[in-house]
């Protein structure tokens, strides 16, 4: 939608008139020439151009410039799309926020809008009051300056409950005159009409509502063993799919999604049900259900114990199946427990393996010793044993210290009020305050005719949690380890009392957390209990720990009236938990209805959109294009084009797989076209540079002094590069270099056997003689161990190295150690009479080991000057010269072999040839 366009400085647009003039001017001025120095100019004098193409700017370039300029002029004129045409208001302004959970979903948008409204009011100098209906100021709205209100807006938050009774507060507005803006959450509520009437009397009312419907989720409930959830929406327009997720802790305790189901609203429907069939184990872990993507407390429903199904093992002593159902000791227990618990009816040992939450013995007097041990262990680990008395219990002879009984029982029991007794049936005494049953009302029609009787005992009173009117215990309880043992002193069927027939029986089981709450809470159920909030929900549906909230009485929990003192959340009582949800089981959503006098606005307004920035950017981009195009026209893009081509070429070639092969081919050509010295890349930048400089210097000296004219040296990576191209490989030793792989050693050995030469340089000739344990020497030993190295000796005085090019007796580098090792001469070498050296034939030493740091002495910089200092003064220069001579001898030795040694044979050869 394109609205009106306005200009902040329309006068600037007159500059557009100048465009045609500029067109004419630009057309007349050609692009500026390049200046070039060129000796061949002498041949150019007098030549004439055939064509004069570029003396006028091409039309498209002109068009580009015109567009750039037009964009700039229009941009500076300050165009604004959808300009704000607000009419200033006057008088007091009351802003009412519903501030409920249903507003939370688009709260930021509401706050944005509110800020705009307050800012406008500030511009019009109107007093403003902002009121949240869920957090009412006690005595009417306070109108303040917009600045003051603006500062408070940031602190406004929605609350996770709806507004309560507004009539009292509405009265404070009577007789005032103001304009009202009402941010509604879009839901119909009681008492809203009264307020809106009062507001309409006070002045104009504008309602701001989000067109999006509110969603809510009612608490989960059980139907036929499955969980059923109902989702609501306020407006039933259109079909819509939503995702419902069940969240809870995984076995490690971290919260995660336990189930995720699709939920579909049909066209026109405002509610939809979803049945979730979850395994019991997962179901017991669910903490809450959420409608995914709706940020509101209404779309979250917490689950409490009512979703948990306890596993309870029922065991009865009497197996006489001939009795009718109603006489079965388990009949009433079954009826009471089946709706809310999973029952296990199995032998005790099997039942223990299923680790139930509780085990109920109906008149079982004795268990075997082994069973008793396991049962005791289970209770001590937190299990709960509930025993009902009966004829067997009464008849049994219990061990006085039996841990499976809370009290000692007197043998025989007693019968009161029966046909054969004198007394009246006994009634129940109201529950005392320290009883878990406190608050439950005792019906009058419960009669107890028989019971088992506890032995008097100092601890009896504290173990009794329910007693008969005459004070004898009806229910006793004792802790055992982490668990407990509870004894009902009557039977679980109606034989001894009418208790199992009453609703109290179910409530008592519930209070003992044997069964769980089947349905809604009643005030009566919860009377006398105190609940503390564990987790609370905020309006956005986020769960927080609540540690600082005061306890809430059970009656209030039952009423479920949420407010600041009782926010929605999970409340823990004695031994169970209750969830209070924002959206109750019977609540419904309906859209708000407003009287016709009220103006209703949407949440968004068309913001004025300044176009200055985009237009100026466009202008700049056009100018850049113009600059490039001008360069291109003037022929100055040539070098750049080259660079672009190179980059494009690189980009093209880089990903190709054939590149490596090509590289190695190029490298092989480089290495073989001329003599190339090589060094081992140790991976240490500085050392590798030194090797390169050293060999480069040596190559230069060879070039200048001998007929060997090597190319620039190459570094070799032992793992990947072919070695056989190189006559000599210089290998400086550093402690940190990696040891080559087995393949690399195989390659090195092949290289050594086929006539190559490796010069090891430990560069430690100043510190210690060879063989002393410097770090480099140790590293060398480690590196050279897998190499195929022959027996070594220090260079003998008659070694061919001493005379391949220069006559040498010392082999200094930067250091002057004399210990330089080469392959040992064969033992049978003998010195011919009259000759200065032994008769040694053939073979280049495959290895030379020294520590004189030759590379440093050889290194030259780009101008051919030495890079590193050697020795001192002129003596040092002499030493450098000798180092260079050694290097030359070395290369000559590698390249010519024992040619110089063969010179000893010259006289003999001559002798044989001629005469």
């Amino acid at each position: 939608m394109i609205g009106a366009i306005a200009f902040s400085t329309p006068l600037l647009l007159t500059a557009l008139i100048a465009l045609p003039i500029l067109w004419w001017l630009l057309r007349a001025v050609p692009p500026s020439p390049i200046r070039r120095r060129f000796p061949g100019i002498a041949l150019l004098f007098g030549l004439r151009d055939d064509e004069n193409q570029t003396d006028k700017t091409p039309w498209w370039l002109l068009m580009l410039r015109m567009l750039a300029l037009a964009a700039a002029i229009i941009g500076f004129a300050g165009p604004v799309l959808n300009p704000d045409e607000r009419v200033p208001g006057r008088g007091n302004l009351l802003v009412i926020m519903d501030g409920s959970w249903a507003s939370a979903r688009d709260w930021p948008a509401r706050i944005d809008r509110l800020e705009g409204i307050v800012a406008d009011a500030g511009r019009d100098a109107r007093p403003v009051a902002v009121v949240s209906l869920t957090d009412l100021p006690p005595e009417g709205p306070v109108f303040q300056t917009a600045d003051t209100v603006q500062a408070a807006i940031g602190g406004l938050q929605p609350n996770p409950w709806a507004a309560g009774d507004l009539s009292g507060w509405a009265e404070t507005l009577d007789g005032q005159s103001f304009e009202t803006i009402w941010f509604s959450d879009g839901l119909a509520r009681e008492g809203r009409e009264g307020l809106s009437n009062i507001l309409a009397d006070a002045g104009v009312v504008t309602v701001i509502e989000s067109p999006r419907p509110a969603f809510a989720l009612s608490p989960a409930r059980f139907e036929d063993g499955d969980i059923v959830l109902t989702a609501h929406r306020a407006i039933g327009a259109g079909a819509r799919e939503m995702v419902l997720v069940a969240l809870g802790p995984d076995p490690s305790g971290a919260e995660q999604v336990l189930a995720r189901e699709l939920l579909e609203f049909e066209e026109g429907a405002v509610t939809t049900d979803l049945t979730l069939a979850l395994p019991a184990e997962l179901r017991n872990r669910v903490r809450r259900f959420e409608l995914e993507g709706i940020r509101s407390a209404g779309a979250v429903t917490l689950s409490d114990d009512s979703l948990k199904r306890r596993e309870i093992a029922l065991l009865a002593g009497r197996e006489d199946s001939e009795a009718t159902d109603l006489l079965s000791p388990l009949y009433y227990l079954n009826r009471a427990l089946v709706p809310t618990a999973d029952l296990i009816e199995a032998p005790l040992v099997d039942a223990l393996l299923a680790s139930p939450d509780a085990i109920i013995f109906a008149d079982i007097a004795t268990v075997s010793t082994a069973e008793a041990e396991r049962l005791t262990a289970w209770i001590e680990d937190g299990g709960m044993l509930v025993r009902f008395a009966g004829p067997r219990t009464a008849a049994a002879d219990f061990d006085p210290d039996d841990p499976l009984l809370p009290v000692r029982l007197r043998a025989g029991g007693r019968s009161v009020g029966g046909a054969m007794s004198w007394g009246e049936p006994k009634r129940l005494r109201p529950f005392t305050q320290d009883s878990p049953f406190f608050g439950l009302s005792v019906p009058d029609d419960i009669e107890v005719v028989s019971q088992v009787v506890a032995e008097p005992d100092p601890t009896l009173a504290e173990r009794t949690i329910a007693s008969l009117a005459d004070g004898t215990p009806l229910v006793t309880r004792a802790a055992l380890g982490e668990g407990q043992v509870i004894l009902f002193h009557v039977t679980a069927n109606a034989e001894w009392s009418t208790l199992p027939l009453s609703g109290l029986f179910v409530q008592m089981l519930e209070r003992l957390a044997i069964s769980t709450r089947p349905a809604d809470l009643s005030a009566e159920d919860l009377a006398g209990t105190v609940w503390t909030a564990e987790d609370v929900l905020d309006a956005f549906g986020t769960v927080r720990r609540a540690d600082t909230l005061a306890g809430v009485p059970g009656e209030k929990i039952a009423a479920a009236e949420l407010g600041p003192l009782m926010p929605p959340g999970l409340y823990a009582g004695d031994d169970r938990r209750v969830a209070l949800n924002v959206f109750g089981r019977d609540d419904t959503l309906a859209p708000a209805q407003w009287p016709e006098t009220v103006t209703i606005e949407g949440m968004t307004v068309t913001e004025p959109l300044p176009l200055m920035g985009p237009l100026l950017s466009l202008s700049l981009v056009l100018l850049i294009i113009d600059a490039i195009a001008s360069l291109w026209l003037a022929g100055r893009l040539r070098p750049m084009r080259g660079a672009v081509a190179v980059i494009a070429g690189l980009a093209l070639f880089a990903p190709q797989t054939g590149q490596a092969q090509e590289d190695s081919d190029i490298r092989a050509l480089e290495a073989t076209a001329e003599v190339v010295l090589a060094y081992v890349e140790t991976g240490e930048g500085q050392l590798d540079r030194l090797s390169r400089e050293g060999l480069s210097g040596l190559s230069q000296h060879l070039f200048n002094r001998t007929s060997v004219e090597p190319a620039e040296p190459l570094g070799v990576d032992l793992e990947t590069d072919e070695l056989s191209f190189f006559p000599l490989i210089y290998w400086p030793i550093s402690e940190r270099q990696p040891t080559p792989s087995a393949e690399a050693y195989a390659k090195l050995n092949r290289y050594l056997r086929s006539g190559g030469m490796i010069v090891f340089d430990t560069r430690d000739g100043n510190i210690g003689g060879f063989g002393s344990s410097t770090a480099e020497a140790r590293k060398l030993q480690e590196l050279a161990r897998p190499l195929d190295i022959p027996a070594l000796e220090t260079i003998p005085i008659d070694h061919v190295l001493t005379r391949t090019f220069y006559l040498l007796q010392d082999f200094p580098g930067r250091h002057t150690s004399r210990e330089v090792w080469v392959e040992a001469a064969p033992a049978d070498a003998e010195q011919v009479e009259g000759l200065p050296f032994r008769n040694l034939n053939d073979g280049v030493t495959p290895i030379l080991i020294g520590g004189n740091d030759w590379a440093s002495a050889w290194a030259l910089d780009a101008r051919g000057l030495p890079l590193y200092r050697v020795g001192r003064g002129f003596g040092g220069e002499r030493q450098r010269e000798l180092a260079i001579r050694f290097g030359i001898n070395l290369v000559m030795h590698v390249l010519t072999g024992n040619y110089k040694s063969d010179q000893v044979h010259v006289p003999a050869l001559l002798d044989r040839l001629g005469n």
């Binding site: 120095r37 060129f38 000796p39 061949g40 100019i41 151009d49 064509e51 004069n52 570029t54 200048n704």
Partner: protein
Amino acid sequence: MNTDPASTPASLRHRAEAHASAYPALLAQAEHLAATVLLGDHGRRRAGMGDEFWQYRPAEQGDGLRMIDWRRSARSDAHFVRQKEWQAAQSVMLWVDDGLSMTFSGGDNRPSKGHRARVLALALAVLLNKGGERFGLANRGTPPRRGEAQLQRIAGHLMAPAGEADYGAPNARVLPAGSRAVFLSDFLGDPSETIATLTRAADRGVKGALVQVLDPDEEAFPYDGRTVFETMSGGQSFETLKASGLKNKYLDRLAERKAQLKEVTRRTGWQFHTHHTDQAATKAILWLFGTLDKGAMR
């Protein structure tokens, strides 16, 4: 007190060394280039003063008694005179254009024309020195001499900075009569001076070779667009609106200039060669040496 770091003794020395280091490099380069030419015997192929045997000829009237080779004569009845090959040393004058146009290089990885010309001249001088010839530098009027000292002197002169003129011209006056001469230049300036010098030199019996050293850019004229060309000194300029349109005309003129020079050299008995700075210097030195060797035959 002057604290300009550029004039402290240390920095002065540093710069001096930097400059000086180029000089041995030039000499080394030239020597290396000269080493590619195998020096053979290059006698004058005629009898005369020298060390090498040339021929026996029958003794004639007027031959001195001591000129007779008795050993040869004893094998026959006639008397023979042993003649030696004439090995008179030749004077070769080198001229290297020192005009500013020689400082041009069209590419970063190519030497300037001047540098190439200097290397060629010096390499030739090294060769001549080894061949026992005398050589001099016509630029400074260095008289032809032989020996290492002369080599050093010439190298020194060649290192002098370029002159101020855009184009240089050889001078015929310093050429000794009957000597040889080698002119290295781009010959892009006014050809009349060169032609005049050649003619005058030919009149004085001087023969030799012209080596035109050109940058590849000068051969290809790879320019485009609206361009103002300037001489290397910036003194003169020429503006074109579309440089690419001039390419053919320029190449025609260049070919014409070469033809003109070739024609003049043909008439005067000189040799002409065009060398490009992107070619190997060896090629030019071999050509030069061959030319001089041949020329020496006549």
